[in-house]
């Protein structure tokens, strides 16, 4: 097993603990925005999509596959963040001024 893999596994395990710790503090009130927010975060695969799109590939087919990956990942990131922001914008306290939705 390579040193790099061990380091990466360490990061993975620590991230799991951080994840459980941080997420368990999110109130049920915000579970839907949490779900769509984490959805946006896994859009980080856009980094991978950019990397594979940027490396030269023999043939058009692989370029098309990378192209689709870029589209999907971007839709994931942009859509995820926009919709989460849109939801959170609506939450207000009793005494805060009302933002009419309609």
């Amino acid at each position: 097993m390579s040193y790099q893999l061990v380091t990466e596994l360490t990061i993975l395990v620590l991230a799991a603990f951080v994840g459980f710790e941080v997420i368990s503090k999110v109130p049920t009130l915000l579970h839907t925005p949490l779900m769509s927010g984490t959805n946006a975060i896994h859009g980080i695969v856009i980094v991978g999509a950019i990397i594979v799109m940027g490396t030269p590939h023999p043939g058009l087919f692989m370029r098309l596959v990378s192209f689709v990956a870029v589209i999907l990942a971007t839709a994931n990131v942009v859509g995820g963040f926009v919709v989460t922001d849109r939801m959170l914008e609506m939450f207000r306290k009793r005494d805060e001024p009302r933002k009419e939705a309609q």
Binding site: L29, L72, M87
Partner: protein
């Protein structure tokens, strides 16, 4: 290769994502958190573009980002809040699909150069390809079920579980052989088989259980992204993917617990297929009858109550009556009534969905009470108004061991002084179970559409 520099710069993104989740602990900072997260994402994209020698395909990349952004923005802006679960499923699916395609392209590079993939990278490639593909296809079916493009009822046939298991094993076998022989098309076939498995895996699960499935697939996509991180040696993918994996796992467990069912039962139980109602015979059999009432009577009850608790369910959202409920609540507050909202953890179609729907209708979030907070308050509550909710207030969950929902935590509305149930007819709820609450002597039924009922109640309360 600038992997080290990239990983160093990605630390900013990692910190931003963790902060984003941290800020979600309170509705006050939540929005700021999401904006920090989005900034972190933008930073990661900029770093990737700057450091990776993008040899070819600039125009492809620009076009892909443009198309993806348009899809994302239009989808996110147009979607109705009631359709949020579908939207989450859709965005989740495309992320999983992207992860699967990335490992396919990476593997193609190895194949084209007649290289060797190695055991470690091979495992990561197989994982992200298969799990990403399952997540993509499964999410699309979940989307279809919630959007009612596919039947929401569980679709079952003989030998289903065995067939699914065989398909799953076949997908893994294909992928493993692909890694061993460095054969590109075998991995492509494995991804196809995994997608097929994703479809048949979600089909037998009922529409009511889709939120659990979406949450589980959310965790899957996160783990697929983390595996992609192992393939590309990118720490930001590993951390972000795992954060999502943890979140999805936690939410899936919470939801299954709120429905008092095991995850295995949700996934393989085909819940909601057989609409046998053991409660129906019991409740109807003792000669118990239902008391029907009018909006005017209810208005008097409400106007002279000290405390009124609304229990909104998905039926309320379907009827688009959230704004009317808020108007009625404000009217009652002007009359000095203490108004609260009791939100069951699985009210709506995903956890926290009802909170979003009420926030959209401008209900302040400090009037929304979670189940554990509001349950001890019901005995001191004069009137509970149940609008479009059914199973989450079904006392059979507490006292009928034979009931399919027995043991599920519910809102104890039957402990309050009076219960008003607004419902179109006596038909059973999403889970197909009869509700003894309707036959309770304290309960009156107002048979009407939720929106129409609210409008009548508003008019009636005004004239009290």
């Amino acid at each position: 290769m600038s992997t080290t520099t990239a990983n160093l710069l990605y630390l900013i993104t990692i910190a931003a994502f963790i902060l984003a989740l941290r800020f979600l602990s309170s509705p006050r900072h939540a929005r700021l958190g999401v904006q920090i997260g989005a900034a972190g994402m933008l930073w990661a994209v900029v770093v990737t573009l700057a450091l990776n020698k993008v040899v070819t395909g600039w125009w492809w990349m620009a076009a892909g980002v443009l198309i993806g952004s348009v899809i994302g923005v239009v989808g996110a802006r147009k979607v109705k809040m009631t359709a949020m679960p579908q939207m989450v499923a859709l965005f989740n699916g495309v992320g999983g699909g992207a992860a699967a395609l990335i490992s396919l392209v990476e593997f193609h590079g190895v194949w084209a150069h007649a290289g060797d993939v190695g055991v470690e990278r091979g495992i990561a490639t197989v994982f992200s390809a298969l799990v990403g593909s399952i997540s993509f296809a499964g999410s699309m079916i979940a989307f279809g079920k919630l959007q009612e493009l596919v039947s929401g009822r569980p679709i079952t046939y003989p030998g289903q579980q065995v067939g699914n298991a065989l398909l799953f094993v076949a997908a893994i076998a294909l992928a493993v052989v692909a890694m061993g022989s460095i054969e590109f098309w075998l991995l492509a076939a494995a991804i196809g088989a995994a997608a097929l498995f994703g479809v048949v895996f979600v089909l037998p699960i009922g529409g009511a259980d889709m939120p659990v499935v979406i949450s589980l697939l959310n965790a899957f996509t996160g783990l697929a992204a983390a595996a992609t991180g192992f393939v590309l040696h990118s720490n930001v993918l590993i951390v972000s993917g795992m954060l999502v994996g943890a979140s999805g796992t936690l939410l899936t467990t919470l939801m299954a617990r709120a429905m008092n069912r095991s995850l295995a039962n949700v996934l393989f139980g085909a819940f909601g297929k057989i609409v046998a109602a053991p409660g129906a015979a019991a409740a109807g059999g003792d000669g118990a009858s239902v008391r029907s009432t009018t909006a005017d009577d209810v208005a008097v009850m409400l106007a002279f109550a000290r405390r009124v608790v609304f229990v909104p369910g998905y039926g309320l959202a379907v009827a688009q009556a959230q704004h009317d409920v808020r108007n009625l609540a404000e009217l009652l507050e002007e009359k000095g009534v203490d108004v609260r909202y009791a939100i069951h953890p699985v009210a709506g179609r995903m956890p926290g969905h009802m909170n979003v729907l009420l926030a959209e209708a401008n209900v302040p979030y400090d009037e929304l009470y979670e189940m554990d907070t509001i349950n001890p308050e019901f005995p001191q509550t004069d009137v509970v108004v149940v609008v479009g909710a059914n199973d989450v207030v079904n006392p059979a969950a507490r006292n009928q061991p034979g009931s399919p929902i027995y043991g599920m935590p519910i809102l104890d509305v039957d402990k309050s002084q009076n219960v008003v149930v607004i419902k179109r007819s006596m038909s059973p709820g999403f889970a197909g179970i009869d509700n003894p609450l309707f036959y309770d002597p304290k309960t009156v039924m107002l048979f009407d559409d939720a929106k129409a009922a609210m409008e009548k109640l508003i008019a009636a309360v005004k004239s009290v």
